[in-house]
Symmetry: C2
Subunit: 113 residues, 2 copies
DNA sequence: AAATATACATAAAATTCTTAGGCATGGTGT
DNA sequence: ACACCATGCCTAAGAATTTTATGTATATTT
């Protein structure tokens, strides 16, 4: 997941955000979508993704729909109503995080306009 | 450290950034400064901070200067030349992270203006 | 025929942080 | 005098998340 440790903790937010946009997605699709959107900057590893999906499902934030495409299985995930709420919450947390970090990083301190 | 998991991985960046601004700081001062700047949003716990400082020192990114103020010890940390380079690098990573996350979060996909 | 892509999965280890203490000085309130 | 909180350092057990390393199987490309 990139060489930056900053991505630690943002996997769930990313997953939820993608599912908000795409209605239903399967695991492998998520990894590819993220790679594409970020132009390779961010690579979600399967060892992190699948456990995360299982946990989100266990928490009632995602529903699963297993489909057989050709001869292969796909597990399509989609947001539950509760998952939609959580998505909204996570996105607000992200905005707050970014805002806070920018305050910490930008030297407008001791000025406090 | 806030209720958001997004802060995971950003502690070192925060420490380095503060030391870039403040020349020399001691641990407790860092916790208070962060609390103040973020108006309580972000509380750095000492259980995370001190091991992080020790590690940065061991990596040669920080130098320590122990001083006795009144009857109490203070360990003042400051950036080494290598620490300054690393700070620059970490700040660029933060910019990249924010940019990437905003791309992931903002729905300009499949448009790619 | 071999290599790569698709598609799922788990498990050990590493990393980072939280939680929960411990020790000591100094000031403030009762 | 005594309790409590702020200052100032510290560590260690556990939790949570991710990396790394596999495993299995089918489909496509070279």
């Amino acid at each position: 997941m990139a060489n930056s440790k900053l991505y630690k903790g943002s996997l769930v937010t990313i997953i939820l955000r993608l599912l908000k946009e795409n209605e239903k997605m399967y695991g492998y699709e998520i990894t590819q979508k993220v790679k594409q959107i970020t132009q390779g900057e961010l690579q979600i590893t399967e060892g992190a993704l699948y456990p995360a999906l299982h946990k989100l499902e266990a928490q009632g934030l995602l529903d699963v729909d297993v489909q057989k495409v050709g001869n292969r299985l796909r597990k399509y995930y989609k947001l539950t109503p509760q998952g939609q709420k959580e998505t909204h919450s996570k996105l607000q947390e992200l905005q707050a995080y970014i805002k806070t970090m920018q305050v910490l990083v930008n030297p407008k301190w001791s000025l406090e306009s």
